[in-house]
C-alpha cells in the first residue's frame, strides 16, 4: 500500500510536470533550413533572410508551434553559409539533407539558385529562393518556389519613375559578369532603352575589390546616372565611394537586391546625395509592414536587420508553415509544395499578394506582394512609394 501510494505520487508529479511544458515539447520538431551568404560582400542579404526565417519560426513557437495533424511541433531553424556561390549552396542543400531538413528558405542569389536546384531536387527538398535569375525557378524543378517578383515585373515602372523625377538621359548599368549580375542588369538595361535613355551595360569580375578602373571607365562615359543593379551590397558601397571620390555628381540607382544602407553609408549620408532611386522589395512605409519591425524587436529582443529580404523571407516561411499544416507533413516536400500552391498568397504584414511566374517561368510559384520605390533628391529622403504588382502574371 505504501509503495502504491509512492507510485501514485510519482505519477502525479510526472503528469503535472509534463502538463507544465509547452505543448510542442511533448510532440515533435519541424526543421526549416536557411541557405544564403552569411559572410562576405553579400552577407547583408543572407543575414536578413536568416533573420526573417528565425522571426517567423519564433512567432510560430510563441503560438505553440506548427500544427501537423494532431500534433503541435516546435519550429527550429538550421542555416548554412553559402558564401554566395553555387558550390556553397549545393553543399548547403546536402548538409541540410543530412540533418533531415526537407524545407529550405533560400538561397538568396542566382549563382546559389543555379547550384542548389538540381541538388535539392535530388534530395527531395523544397526551396524558396529570392534570386533575380531568368531561370530562378522552372518546370523541371517543381518544388522550387520564388519569394519575390523578378526584375521584369518592377524594372519598367521604376525606370519610368526615375526618368521622370531626375530627367535621366544616359545611364550605366553596372553588375558582376555572372548570372547574378547579368540577368538583372540586362532587364534593367532594356527598361532604360524602352524609355529612350542612352544605356551602357558594364560588367566586372565577381570578387573585384578595387573598382578604380571600372569607375574611370564609367566616368569616361559621363552618364547622368549609374545603376548598381544587383551588385552585392559591399561591392555597391565600395563602387559608390570610389565614384564620388572620382568626382561623380550624377544620380545613383539601385534596381536590384537590397543595398540601400551600404550605398548611403558609402556616400557619407543622405544629405550628401544629389539623387538616388532604388527598389524596396516591399512597400516599407505601409503601416502593416512597419509593424513587423516592432514585432521583430519584441520577439527576437534585437533590432531587425536593415534589409528588406527580411520581410520576403519571413513571408515565405509563414507560407511554408501554413502549407505544412495543410499537407499534414513536414517530411514530404512534394506534398508541402502541392499544399503551398493551393494556399492564397497573403501575409499578416505584407497583405494580399498573388502567385505569379506563369509567364516568366512556366509555373505560378512566385510569391508577389507590392514593392516600393525609394527616392532621395537634393539630400532629402522623399520616402518610399508603393508599387502594386498584382497584375504580374
Amino acid at each position: 500500500m505504501n509503495s502504491l501510494s509512492k507510485y501514485g505520487f510519482r505519477s502525479a508529479l510526472l503528469t503535472s510536470l509534463l502538463a507544465a511544458l509547452p505543448a510542442w515539447a511533448q510532440n515533435c520538431e519541424t526543421k526549416i533550413g536557411v541557405l544564403g551568404p552569411l559572410s562576405g560582400g553579400a552577407a547583408a542579404w543572407g543575414l536578413a533572410m536568416k533573420g526573417g526565417v528565425e522571426f517567423a519560426a519564433a512567432q510560430s513557437n510563441e503560438a505553440g508551434g506548427v500544427q501537423i495533424g494532431n500534433r503541435k511541433c516546435k519550429v527550429t531553424v538550421l542555416n548554412y553559409d553559402t558564401k554566395y556561390t553555387a558550390d556553397g549552396a549545393a553543399a548547403g542543400a546536402n548538409f541540410l539533407a543530412g540533418e533531415n531538413v526537407k524545407l529550405i528558405i533560400g538561397p538568396v542569389g542566382s549563382p546559389e539558385a543555379t547550384g542548389v536546384k538540381p541538388v535539392a531536387n535530388r534530395n527531395g527538398q523544397l526551396t524558396f529562393n529570392s534570386s533575380f535569375a531568368k531561370d530562378a525557378i522552372g518546370t523541371q524543378f517543381p518544388n522550387a518556389f520564388h519569394q519575390l517578383a523578378g526584375p521584369s515585373a518592377w524594372s519598367p515602372a521604376l525606370v519610368k519613375a526615375a526618368k521622370e523625377r531626375f530627367k535621366i538621359t544616359s545611364v550605366v548599368v553596372v553588375a558582376p559578369n555572372d548570372q547574378g549580375g547579368t540577368d538583372v542588369a540586362s532587364v534593367n538595361a532594356d527598361s532604360y532603352k524602352a524609355q529612350a535613355i542612352k544605356t551602357t551595360e558594364e560588367y566586372y569580375q565577381r570578387g573585384t575589390t578595387n573598382f578604380a578602373p571600372i569607375v574611370t571607365r564609367i566616368m569616361n562615359l559621363k552618364p547622368d546616372a549609374v545603376d548598381t543593379a544587383s551588385s552585392p551590397p559591399g561591392d555597391a558601397g565600395t563602387m559608390v565611394k570610389q565614384l564620388l571620390e572620382a568626382g561623380f555628381t550624377g544620380i545613383i540607382g539601385r534596381l536590384g537586391g537590397p543595398g540601400t544602407p551600404e550605398i548611403i553609408k558609402a556616400a557619407g549620408g543622405v544629405e550628401k546625395i544629389k539623387g538616388f532611386y532604388w527598389l524596396e522589395l516591399v512597400a516599407t512605409e505601409d503601416p502593416a509592414v512597419k509593424s513587423m519591425l516592432v514585432d521583430y524587436q519584441k520577439v527576437m529582443k534585437v533590432p531587425a536587420p536593415d534589409n528588406t529580404l527580411l520581410y520576403t523571407a519571413a513571408a515565405a516561411t509563414r507560407m511554408v508553415l501554413k502549407a505544412i499544416t495543410a499537407a499534414g507533413t513536414d517530411a514530404d516536400a512534394t506534398k508541402v509544395a502541392a499544399a503551398l500552391r493551393g494556399l492564397p498568397a497573403e501575409d499578416p504584414y505584407l497583405g494580399k499578394g498573388v502567385w505569379a511566374g506563369k509567364a516568366s517561368f512556366g509555373l505560378a510559384q512566385e510569391l508577389v506582394f507590392p514593392v516600393g520605390m525609394g527616392l532621395v533628391a537634393d539630400g532629402k529622403h522623399l520616402g518610399v512609394s508603393r508599387l502594386d504588382l498584382s497584375g504580374t502574371k
Binding site: 560588367y203 571607365r217 565600395t238
Partner: protein
C-alpha cells in the same frame, strides 16, 4: 588623354599595393621555402587591427597603421617559431599549417567583428583634379607610403647585414649555415617581416576598398599570380611583376571593360609563363 594618365596612376597604385603584398609572400618562400597560405589572413588582420585602434580606440590613423603592421609582425614571428619552424622542410605540412591558420584567422575575425563589411573610411577624402585628370588623395597617400616601404624593404634586404644574411639563407641554406647563420633565429624574423608587410598593406588599403573577413582570399590569389609571374622567391621579380599586373589590370579594365580586362591579364600572365616557365626572374630550382 586625361583618362590615360588617370589610368596610369591607378595602375601604379595597384602595382605598389600588389608589390607590398607579394614581397612578403615571396620573401617567405625564398627564405624558408614555405608557401604561406595565411598571407591574405595577415592582410585582413592588419585591416581589423588598424580599424580597432583608429575607430574603436580613437588612435590616429597613421599610428594605427603602424600598430597593425607591428601586431602582424609579432604574430607572424610566433607563428613561425611555434608552428612552422619544426616542419619548415616539409612543404606539404607547412602548406596545411598556413592554410589552417588562414581559416582560423578568417573565422576569428568573423566571430569578433561580424560578417558584414566594417565601416572604415580613409581619414582623408577628396581628389586631386587637373582638367579631366583626377586621382583621389587617399590613393596618392597609399601610393606614396607603399613606395616608401618598398624602398625601405630594398634597403633592408640589400644594404644591411640582416638582409644579406636573409638572402644568403635563400640562396643556399647549407652554405649559409656553414658560415654561422642560424635558421632558428633568421626564419622567425623573415616571417615577421613578411606578415608585417601584409598587415601594413591591409591597414593602408582596406579603408579605401572594403574590410570584411573574407577579403584575404582575393588578395592571396593576386599575390600568388604576381609571385609566380615574377618567379617564386625573387624579390626583384615580384616587384616588376606587381607593376606589370597593376598597370595591365588598370589599362585593360578601363579600355576593354571589367570582364575582358581580367581575361587580358590572365592571358598575358599565361603567355609570359609559356615563354619563361620559372617567371620573369625565377631560377630553375630553389636551392635552399
Amino acid at each position: 588623354m586625361e583618362s590615360f594618365v588617370s589610368t596610369g596612376v591607378i595602375g601604379l597604385s595597384l602595382g605598389t599595393q600588389y608589390a607590398l603584398l607579394s614581397l612578403g609572400f615571396t620573401l617567405i618562400f625564398g627564405i624558408l621555402g614555405v608557401i604561406n597560405f595565411s598571407h591574405g589572413g595577415f592582410y585582413v588582420l592588419g585591416g581589423y587591427v588598424a580599424y580597432s585602434f583608429s575607430h574603436l580606440a580613437g588612435v590616429p590613423f597613421a599610428i594605427a597603421v603602424l600598430l597593425a603592421a607591428l601586431a602582424c609582425a609579432v604574430l607572424g614571428y610566433f607563428v613561425e617559431l611555434l608552428l612552422v619552424e619544426r616542419h619548415v622542410n616539409d612543404h606539404l605540412t607547412t602548406m596545411m599549417i598556413t592554410l589552417g591558420l588562414y581559416l582560423i584567422m578568417t573565422t576569428g575575425t568573423l566571430v569578433v567583428f561580424g560578417p558584414e563589411p566594417a565601416e572604415f573610411p580613409f581619414p582623408v577624402s577628396g581628389s586631386f583634379r587637373a582638367g579631366g585628370f583626377f586621382v583621389p588623395y587617399s590613393n596618392l597617400i597609399v601610393l606614396g607610403v607603399c613606395m616608401l616601404v618598398i624602398a625601405v624593404v630594398y634597403l633592408l634586404m640589400y644594404k644591411t647585414r640582416f638582409g644579406i644574411a636573409l638572402r644568403a639563407m635563400a640562396d643556399d641554406r647549407e652554405v649559409a649555415i656553414a658560415q654561422g647563420l642560424r635558421p632558428a633565429q633568421m626564419f622567425p624574423m623573415a616571417f615577421a617581416l613578411a606578415t608585417g608587410l601584409a598587415g601594413l598593406t591591409g591597414a593602408l588599403v582596406t579603408p579605401i576598398l572594403a574590410l570584411e573577413p573574407h577579403v584575404g582570399e582575393s588578395v592571396l590569389a593576386k599575390s600568388f599570380m604576381v609571385v609566380i609571374l615574377g618567379g617564386l622567391g625573387s624579390i626583384g621579380g615580384a616587384t616588376i611583376a606587381a607593376f606589370i599586373v597593376g598597370i595591365v589590370e588598370a589599362y585593360s579594365s578601363v579600355y576593354l571593360g571589367g570582364s575582358k580586362g581580367a581575361l587580358t591579364l590572365f592571358i598575358l600572365v599565361l603567355a609570359i609563363l609559356v615563354v619563361r616557365p620559372n617567371g620573369l626572374m625565377g631560377s630553375e630550382a630553389r636551392k635552399a
